[in-house]
Structure formats: structure tokens, C-alpha cells
Symmetry: C2
Subunit: 321 residues, 2 copies
């Protein structure tokens, strides 16, 4: 894993062309060099190796997805008015919103441009899939923003939102590894669906860890979602289970700006526990992970390699990466 | 021309898929249905016909460019804080900046998606060219924004900026018509360069008309660029020609917010005239137009059709479209 990270970082440093003006490309360099887990490219590189592909062939596809991911971060940070990411200032905070818009735009374009390096058949597969998931990511981001002012969000709508906003790009990371390694269409389709299910499990686990995780391991402040009034599945499940009086109390606490932070977090957490939401989410994580496992089993590949992939997915989910 | 506009409007209405959420797609529909000259798709359709292509084949490429153009408008309007375009509210004014960002993003993606309709060889040509010019358009937009706080802009930098911000997309509109009609590479390359030169001439003429045009014909308020303190070539040329004392006076008037509007416009216009900038620009328009004519002559095509194309380009430049 560490070796692949190094390989990827070197690739980004050496291969990316930054033209002029610097005012456009400095923010791009800044966000791309600000690290992050590099989850998506690591998946692509790992899958490609697993299917006996050459790393050098998978690198541009891996880079395209990481740059695409950073395009979404640059624009999301403006929309959410965020000023800190990965412990550093966001582009909109360090420069301004306009800089965030335009450097985001150019990152989306660069993610297509990198794919030019492939021969025609791969270029077509990669670029069309990128287009497909990009559109879904926009739809997911819009749905997420809409949720802030909506109270009647169904569980289906919630799953559709996280699938589009987060999981399709994870699906794409798996699939791109398979395309780079030239495995067959049945396998690349399965890889996409494996990533999709894992991505949903991943997001649900993120919501869990945000509330109930260990601050040191999680790396972010516990209870952040509650303070940001994010309507995660924990919220939606709890809200749907409460009787009218308790519901009002829950809503009042959730929407209050006056209750002291740790008191608010603890109070909402205990709602999430007693409603059964905590258990419900833990179970959902398992359901989606099991679905991914079942799909792994369907891959046309030898038993030992499938076991390896299964372990890799478990590791991803436990965030030991 | 009118027939092609109708054809294009029908295509946009019938063929564009608007998914959910509506909060993402309503602004897209709004801006795409708010009209405009449809200059870029009209060029693509005209060129395709000229090269004996079928209109139905050129339509998706034409739409991709128009939608791409509207993506740039949606984002530019946020960056420039504009509230009116084509006599209607901009997306950022009617909704908000976040809506403008995300609906802009999805339009950029849709412009790629539309190209999926082509067979592989055309898809590759179209999508790679779209990527190439998209990046240049971002660079041009950034350069344009940078100019606002810069005083030492050279003529070369100015031409590079308008080439990227405006002309490459016009070049692309010509080229896409040729690709749709399956003319040879030498012709499509020439078509791109014809559009590039014409696009520059077009932008210079726009700057001229903004200052010295007939308000009714131009359709916009005369002197708008002066009031917005836009450093067009008229400004740059005049600035470079003035002696230090006059330069200071010119700068003071140009940057003043206190002088009455029509007085300011008249005063700056007279600077532009006496410096020779007006004549200089008129001549530059001719130079770029002549270059386009010379390139038209190089096309592998019969004499009569070249004459037709020449006339079409003249019509474009005279804005009788």
C-alpha cells in the first residue's frame, strides 16, 4: 500500500502539466499536493495489480479519479462554506470562491485530459464511465444540499443520495483497475457493483464513526455531523421511530444553536442509541458489505485471489489504510 | 439560418434528458431555453451542410458546444457577479451561487455526454477536442479576471486571453461541423484555424461596437466596457501611447467612480480616438479576417463553396445573424 502511495504521488508530481496562468494552476497544485488518503487511486492500482495489470497502465486512470475527486472537493467546499480540509485551508479560504470555481472546473477537465494517454478502446471505456458517474455525483451533491431544508426524506432517497454522491466514484475506482488490466466486461461490471456496495457501506460507517468513533482513530472531531445538523441515516431512522412528543424534543435539540456542544452531542447520541439507529446502521453496513462479498464471489477469477480481494475490502472498511 | 435555429431549438427541447433532482436541472433548462444567438451551433450546422454532411449527424456536436458555452456563462456570471443576461436573471441571481456552480458543472458534463451518441471514431475526435479547448477556456477566463488588477498587460497577453476565452470555442464550432461531415483532417484543422481567427476578429469587433456601435443594432448599452473598467485592446493601446501626464489623466478618468456616466464614456472614447486605438482595432479586425480568408482558400474544396463560406464568415462578423 505504501509503495503504491509513493508511486502515485510521484506520478502526480511528474506527469501533471501545469500551464499558465499560475493564478489558475497554483490552487490546483495546492489541493492535489495536500495529500488525503488517496483512497480512490489506491483502489484502482490494487485492483489492476490483482488482475495482473501493469501499474504504469493503471496510473493515469487512478490519477483521473483522484483529480476528479478533488474537483468535487473544491466545489463542495465553496457550497458548504468550508475553510479547513485535511488540516489545511480550503481553496476558497486561502484564495476566494472564484478561484475555487475555476480551479475546480479545470480539474474536472484535466481528469478527462489524462485519459487521452490511453489507446482508443480504453479511452472510450474510461471517458464514458467518467461522464456517467460525474453526472450522478452532481445529482448526489444537489440532493445532499436539498436535504438541509427538507424534513420528509425517505430512506430510499437517502441511499440514492449517498450512492450518487460517494459510492459511484468508489465503484469507478474498482472498475478502472479492471479496465486498465484488460479483464473482461463481466468482471469490470462486477467490480463497479462491488465498489458501489462498498462505497455505501463506507459512507454509513463514516456516519457511525462520526458519532460513535474513537476520535484518535477517526482523525476528526466526534459529533461533527450533529453540530453541522447533517441528516444522516442515524437521524432519519430515529426521526421516523419517535412518537410525536419525543419527536418534537428530538428536533428541538437537533436544531438548537444554544445547547452547549458536548451536551448536544451526547443528547443526540443517546437518541440514536435508544431508537435502535446505531444497531440499524451497523446492520446495514453488514448488508452492503455482504452484497459486495457475494459479488466478489461471482468474479471470474481464482479462489485465492478472490480471498485477497475480500480481505482488501475489509481493510478498506476498517480504515486501516 | 432561421430553419437551422428552429431545428436546433427542437433538438435541445426533445433530446436533452433532465433527471432528478429538479433543483439541479431546472436552472439548466432555464439557461438553455433562455435563447441567445446560438452562434456556435449555427456555425457547426452550417459548416456540416457545406461539406455535404447530414444535419442530424451534426446536431449532437452542435448541442455539446452550446451547452458547454452555457456552462461557461453560468460560472462566469457568478465570478463577475452578474445578475442579468439575455434580458433575464442569471442563474446566480434567480437562485444562488451554489446553484450556479453545480448546474454549471452538470452542463460541462452533459456536453461530454451528448457526444456518446457518435460512433467511436467521431466520439474520440469530438471529446478530445472538447477537452483541449475547455482547458484553454478556463485559462482565458482566469487571465481575464487577473487583468482587472494588472496594469502591465502586453498586447500579446491580451490576444492570448481572447484567443483562449472566446476564439477557441468558435474554432471548435467550425471544426465540429467538418468532423460531423467527415471531411479530411487537413480540412478540419483548417476549419479550426479559420474559426480561431474569426473568433479573435469577432471579439475585437465586439470591443469596438461596445464603444462606437449603434445602440439599437448592438443590442447592449454603448460604453458598458468603459463603465465596467474593462481593459480591452482599445484601453491597452491608448495607455501604451500616452505620455506620462496624459496617461495619469486617462487612468484617473478610467478608474473614477465619480464622473457622470455619459461624460466618462465620451471622455474615454475621445482618448481612444485620438490615440489611434479605434483605427488600430479596425485594422486588426481586418488582419484577422484576412487570415481567415486566406485559410478558407487553402481548404480542399471547390471554388464556389469557398466563396459561400467566405460570405458566411463576413455575415457572422457583421452580426446580421
Amino acid at each position: 500500500m505504501t509503495e503504491n502511495i509513493k508511486l502515485f504521488e510521484d506520478y502526480l508530481k511528474k506527469e501533471l502539466k501545469y500551464n499558465k496562468p499560475e493564478s489558475l494552476y497554483d490552487p490546483v497544485k495546492y489541493i492535489l499536493e495536500s495529500g488525503g488518503k488517496r483512497l480512490r487511486p489506491l483502489i484502482t492500482l490494487y485492483i489492476s495489480e490483482l488482475f495482473n495489470g501493469k501499474k504504469i497502465v493503471a496510473l493515469p486512470a487512478a490519477a483521473a479519479l483522484e483529480i476528479f475527486h478533488n474537483f468535487t472537493l473544491a466545489h463542495d467546499d465553496i457550497m458548504d462554506n468550508s475553510s479547513i480540509r485535511r488540516g489545511k485551508k480550503t481553496i476558497n479560504a486561502k484564495w476566494d470562491d472564484n478561484t475555487g470555481i475555476l480551479s475546480g472546473d479545470v480539474m474536472l477537465i484535466i481528469s478527462y485530459e489524462i485519459l487521452n494517454q490511453y489507446e482508443d478502446s480504453k479511452y472510450i471505456l474510461f471517458s464514458k464511465k467518467l461522464t456517467e458517474i460525474s453526472r450522478l455525483v452532481c445529482e448526489g451533491q444537489q440532493a445532499d444540499m436539498d436535504f438541509a431544508s427538507k424534513n420528509d426524506i425517505t430512506e430510499n432517497e437517502y441511499f440514492e443520495m449517498i450512492k450518487n454522491k460517494t459510492a459511484v466514484l468508489i465503484g469507478c475506482s474498482f472498475m478502472f483497475g479492471g479496465i486498465a488490466a484488460e479483464t473482461n466486461t463481466s468482471n469490470t461490471d462486477l467490480l463497479y457493483r462491488i465498489g458501489l456496495n462498498l462505497g455505501i457501506a463506507f459512507q454509513l460507517e463514516d456516519d457511525l464513526l462520526d458519532c460513535f468513533g474513537d476520535q484518535e482513530k477517526f482523525g476528526k472531531k466526534i459529533g461533527g455531523d450533529i453540530l453541522e445538523k447533517k441528516k444522516t441515516l442515524l437521524y432519519l431512522f430515529t426521526y421516523s421511530k419517535l412518537e410525536s412528543e419525543k419527536k418534537l424534543e428530538f428536533e428541538n435539540i437537533f436544531n438548537s444553536n444554544e445547547i452547549e456542544e458536548s451536551e448536544k452531542i451526547n443528547s443526540i447520541k443517546s437518541f440514536y442509541e435508544t431508537s435502535g439507529a446505531l444497531e440499524y446502521l451497523k446492520n446495514k453496513v453488514k448488508v452492503y458489505f455482504n452484497e459486495a462479498e457475494m459479488l466478489i464471489d461471482k468474479l471470474e477469477f481464482d479462489h485465492d485471489t478472490k480471498k485477497k480481494l475480500n480481505l482488501f475490502c475489509k481493510t478498506l472498511l476498517n480504515r486501516e489504510i
